[in-house]
């Protein structure tokens, strides 16, 4: 993971450098933002296997349209908007393309559709406990799972998440607290501890 101390240029600086034809600025933006965009995509589509491809698509689409970004300071929120649209397209397209197939009908959890997807770490993910926990995370409400995923994908600080999502740090704390409370409840941990 990228250490915050290593970051010498702000997002806005990197966006400006990229706009000036500095290809390495794109590379740095990709490294910095991929985990966050992946978290957003994972939260949107609730399918961990599709998240990587969707995040890559969102990032490349963002780079393509970078000239349209008027305020480089808002790169993160702007990119999140692009990721939202990419995910929405994917969800719509998935519905369309898979509707005729009885085995792949829409009443199945999208996660199940991807059990055979290539994933170098699939073996780890298959561990029952991890799967159960991840399934519970994915079944949280969107606002809760987004904050949780941003935190665990990239160790984002509450302040960074607040800026990205356009809310206060208190809201971030409230969402994370509630997300964890629900997870413990669903996983039965809360009952055991009483």
């Amino acid at each position: 993971m990228h250490s915050r101390d290593d970051i010498t240029a702000s997002d806005a600086d990197l966006v400006r450098q990229a706009g000036n034809g500095r290809p390495d600025a794109y590379g740095e933006l990709a490294r910095r933002w991929m985990p966050r965009v992946m978290a957003v995509c994972h939260a949107r589509v609730r399918c961990r296997c599709a998240a990587a491809d969707l995040a890559q698509e969102a990032l490349l689409r963002g780079f393509r349209d970078l000239v349209t970004l008027k305020s480089p300071e808002k790169f993160g929120a702007w990119l999140r908007g692009i990721a939202d649209r990419v995910c929405l397209d994917w969800l719509k397209s998935k519905q369309r393309s898979e509707a005729p197939f009885s085995r792949l009908s829409g009443d199945r959890n999208p996660e199940e559709l991807s059990v055979r997807d290539e994933d170098p770490l699939a073996a780890v993910d298959r561990a029952e406990e991890t799967n159960r926990l991840m399934a519970e995370v994915e079944s949280l409400s969107e606002s809760h799972r987004e904050v949780l995923m941003l935190f665990y994908y990239d160790d984002m600080s509450y302040r960074e998440m607040a800026r990205l999502l356009g809310v206060s740090t208190a809201t971030i704390n409230a969402r994370l607290t509630e997300a964890r409370r629900r997870l413990r409840e669903r996983l039965g941990v809360a009952e055991e501890n009483r």
Partner: protein, 472 residues
């Protein structure tokens, strides 16, 4: 009362996101309150579990981030490396490249090549009117429309369509141009391939030196024969002569593939490296392009351009690949590349449209890709390939489709059954939906299909070979 105050802070405390004053107060409370300590312990356990559960996701994110970053040159973070250093590095490697090229040109002396075009030696040279008797440097391999490809005498300004030339051989200093709706492939006597998009014009100064007057070309050079392409830019072109440099700019490819175009206004050239060593030179300065990197030549400067999608950028070559037949390895590779990774729906839709535009020529590569290791480990990819096969497969694929009825994946079986019904109007009593079930019913039906095929296969065409296609 204090428990109510501190409980909402526990999450932030575990995440180390709490202000120091509040932290001290909370920790004092925890030291006294067993109930809150238990709660905190439970949260900490959950945090550890979540951290562990997300570890593969974090690793995947880093991996994908690096993959995207690798599409752009300069691996170091912005600000970590002074731009001047990078430029020096480029210039240094490009200078070596230029020296290597110079050495190769001196060693091979392509302009003195006496090698004729295969088959040409036995035939009397019948130059067309206006085309000078210079050594042949390239021949026409394939064209989408021979009437749309013309061979020109640069001195006399006479152009003749390929369809009217007995043997379309381009001499040194000869020109080739394509009409807007025609594309062609040329092979130089050094073994380099040059493909021309519609509306392009080139001049062969030698087998290893081409001038791009307008339009877009794709070139593949060999390790033994580097190819130098010089864009003919407005305001930058010197007097044309085979001895003097044509333009202050040139692009050199050695054992490489690249795409070059000159804008309609003629003031800008684009060079995209697809593979191998490609360098762009301006006077004494040159830059080496990494694969998928695009350089612009404009206003006396070499600059960088955002790379276009490498597969979609050369869509125009598909009609040429089709004409090489179903078995063409380049066609197979293109289909394999276009299938790409599953999940990238935006590009995937464009890629799928590209494959579909190949029509039945995409079917054989798709059938082969179904069992490739990449498709076997990616169900989305495999189903995408099969969906296209199901829609486009012609009658010669019936045997293959019957084979796919035994495929392990129910989606593939179902799509094969759909295609078979479309092609033969037969179901062997089994509805296509049934093939998507795991029951034993379909296993018995495979035998029925095989028996039907044994009785009927003589009625259906077999896969046309490339040689048949070329002669037709």
């Amino acid at each position: 009362m204090s428990c109510e105050r501190f409980r909402p802070l526990l999450s932030a405390w575990i995440d180390r996101q709490i202000a120091s004053a509040e932290r001290s107060e909370l920790e004092e409370h925890l030291a006294e309150c067993a109930e809150c300590r238990t709660e905190a312990e439970g949260l900490r356990e959950l945090h550890a579990d979540l951290h562990r559960a997300f570890a593969p996701r974090r690793a995947a994110a880093v991996h994908v981030g690096e993959r995207v970053a690798a599409m752009f040159p300069g691996r170091a973070a912005a600000g970590h490396r002074p731009p001047r250093g990078r430029r020096r590095e480029w210039i240094s490697s490009a200078l070596s490249m230029a020296l290597g090229f110079l050495l190769a040109v001196l060693l091979f002396q392509p302009w003195k090549s006496e090698r004729g075009v295969p088959g040409e030696r036995d035939r009397p040279r019948e130059p067309s009117a206006g085309v000078p008797l210079s050594p042949a440097v390239a021949r026409l391999v394939i064209a989408t429309d021979p009437k749309g490809v013309e061979l020109g005498d640069r001195v006399g300004g006479i152009w003749q369509p390929a369809s009217e030339v007995a043997l379309f051989v381009c001499p040194s200093e000869g020109s080739v141009r394509t009409r807007e709706d025609a594309r062609c492939e040329l092979l130089t006597t050094d073994g380099c391939v040059v493909r021309m998009n519609g509306g392009a014009e080139i001049v062969f100064h030698s087998a290893g030196r081409i001038e791009l007057k307008r339009g877009e070309i794709w070139c593949r050079s060999t390790a033994q024969a580097p190819l130098e392409v010089q864009p003919s830019l407005a305001g930058a072109t010197a007097e044309l002569s085979s001895a003097a440099p044509l333009s202050p700019f040139s692009c050199t490819a050695a054992d490489a593939t690249c795409v070059m175009s000159v804008s309609e206004s003629g003031d800008k050239a684009l060079v995209t490296a697809a593979a191998g060593n490609v360098s762009v030179k301006l006077h004494d300065t040159s830059v080496q392009l990494q694969p998928r990197e695009t350089a612009t030549i404009h206003g006396g400067q070499i600059g960088c351009e955002r790379p276009a999608d490498r597969l979609l950028a050369v869509s125009w070559m598909q009609p040429l690949l089709i004409r090489k037949g179903h078995e063409d390895p380049e066609l197979a590779q293109r289909v394999e590349d276009l299938l790409g990774p599953s999940g990238r729906m935006d590009l995937a839709a464009s890629y799928e449209a590209e494959i579909r535009s190949l029509g039945e020529y995409g079917v054989l590569p798709l059938l082969r890709s179904l069992e490739s290791p990449r498709s076997r480990s990616d169900r989305g990819r495999q189903l995408c390939a099969m969906r296209i096969v199901s829609d486009l497969a012609p009658a010669w694929a019936i045997g293959d489709l019957i084979g796919l009825l035994s495929h392990a994946d129910p989606g593939v079986r179902g799509l094969a059954a759909d295609a078979l019904q479309r092609l033969t109007q037969q179901t062997q009593g089994i509805a296509p939906e049934t093939w998507r079930d795991d029951g034993a019913e379909w296993e018995a039906a495979v035998a029925a299909w095989q028996a039907w095929w044994a009785r009927n296969k003589d009625r259906y065409p077999t896969l046309p070979s490339a040689s048949l296609l070329r002669s037709s």
